[in-house]
Symmetry: C2
Subunit: 144 residues, 2 copies
């Protein structure tokens, strides 16, 4: 496993680069839109077709948070007027979450900030070939 040195260094680098980038993007998001990254993530999942609305447990899976964590997160975002809880016709146990118009417009603004950040801190330093190679390599790792 001494031969793993190069690979272990690659893992370290993956870890640190990810952390640094994530932090920059989160800080920009917070500064320029007032949204924490978690909120952006929720908006993202609700804004993109095919999902015009999602149940609580689906949304919890999608944004990778516990169900109780999501309950509170949705409480706060509903309070801010970005989301709405709606009854689900067929099943009275369940709640569907949708974007309010305010939520959608807030998301669209935030998406621009996010895209700009990714371009600035990531994309523009990468050739298209490099991006493709990176993506394929990482996808392979994720599937394992």
């Amino acid at each position: 496993m001494a031969a793993d040195d190069e690979r272990r260094a690659a893992w370290r680098e993956l870890f640190e680069t990810h952390a640094a980038l994530r932090e920059r993007l989160a800080a920009e998001m917070q500064d320029e839109t007032g949204l924490p990254m978690t909120w952006y993530d929720v908006l993202l999942h609700l804004a993109d077709p095919p999902a015009t609305s999602m149940r609580m447990h689906e949304l919890a899976d999608a944004v990778v948070i516990s169900k109780s964590g999501l309950t509170r997160l949705v409480d706060r975002m509903e309070e801010e007027g970005l989301l709405a809880r709606e009854a689900v016709p067929g099943d009275r146990r369940s709640t569907a979450i949708t974007l309010t118009p305010a939520g959608r417009s807030r998301f669209e603004e935030a998406r621009e900030v996010h895209r700009r950040g990714i371009h600035e801190h990531f994309s523009r330093h990468l050739s298209e070939e490099e991006a493709r190679a990176l993506r394929e390599l990482l996808a392979r790792l994720a599937r394992v």
Copy 2:
């Protein structure tokens, strides 16, 4: 910026693969040694030369946590007998943190678990060339 699509997908992949790997490694660490990843990170910084001991604020920077967060983290780890606070000869404002013998042996056990995890979930799926290319690419991104 439509040409950024491939690159943006690469960023998504970087984000998700990192999250998945991190989660697996953290779960194994917790299960097999009882240590949260944060604790491992503290031990790691104190175990590797040249640092035989570090001040609180240095350690806070190294593990990327707030100073007050570190105060409490060190409280807990000291309570478990893994760390010791020591006076700094020249400066009575400051505290030096060192590994106890128990802390060192706990770290050595944890390092094995960590190495095995990285090998299993990361290294063994990568050729040495791929690792080198990945590392260089990421290092370049981090430096920007």
